[in-house]
Amino acid sequence: MIILYFSWIRQKLGTGEERFDVPETIKTVTDLAKHLRARGGPFAEVFSDLKRLRSAVNQEHVGWEASVGQGDEVAFFPPVTGG
């Protein structure tokens, strides 16, 4: 899996992209977010309140219950502010 981070999330984590081996226990975006939160430090901070975050799987907006797997590209970002 590739995980991408954008905006203040990227800044806070100090990285915009990581490769990640998905454990069997992670089935949804929520599972993934909780796993990342458990890393502690800036990850705990970023994933402490999922209401501030949005996510995409394979470049499409998804809800927190969307399925994820090893071959996916998952992104976490704040609400968008373009236009």
């Binding site: 991408l4 954008f6 905006s7 203040w8 990227r10 995409a56 470049q59 499409e60 907006h61 992104a75 970002f77 704040p78 609400p79 968008v80 502010t81 373009g82 236009g83």
Partner: protein, 148 residues
């Protein structure tokens, strides 16, 4: 005819509209929306985006607009990178035979760009830098297009 570009360079609205008009001689109405960096207190703006997803999201909504309104042309150009007050950020141009579809499609596309296209703005001011917060009113605006 539809044109979608995400680019660092400025765009030339007049040239984009000339290209749009040339596409069909039944065009009677062209609406453009240009988003500009406001100067009040802000000294600069940096636009980050999600390459790949951005283009897909814009294309999806351009296709949806083309299905909902009888458009004869659509152009969307969105800038990324470092911008200054007064700089152009985004251009949406729509062409149709009459004004109503051109206006509605331009508003529809702007509402979706604001709430779905993965861009994020970092504002620079004398007091420091700050990520721009999403406006609740943009979410209200986009709701009017839902068909349910």
């Amino acid at each position: 005819m539809s044109t979608i570009r995400v680019q660092r360079e400025d765009f030339d609205t007049a040239a984009e509209v000339v290209a749009l008009k040339a596409a069909d001689n039944g065009i009677g109405a062209v609406v453009t929306f240009t988003g500009i960096v406001r100067g009040n207190g802000v000294t600069g703006l940096t636009l980050e985006h999600y390459p790949g997803m951005t283009e897909r999201e814009i294309a999806r909504h351009v296709n949806e607009a083309s299905a909902r309104w009888p458009l004869l042309g659509v152009t969307v150009v969105h800038r990324i990178g470092s911008l200054r007050p007064g700089d152009n950020i985004v251009l949406v141009a729509t062409a149709s035979s009459h004004r109503e579809p051109a206006f509605e499609a331009a508003e529809f596309l702007m509402d979706y760009l604001k709430t779905r296209a993965p861009f994020w703005k970092l504002e620079e001011a004398a007091t420091g830098t700050e990520w721009v917060e999403a406006r609740g009113s943009d979410n209200d605006a986009v709701r009017r297009w839902r068909e349910d």
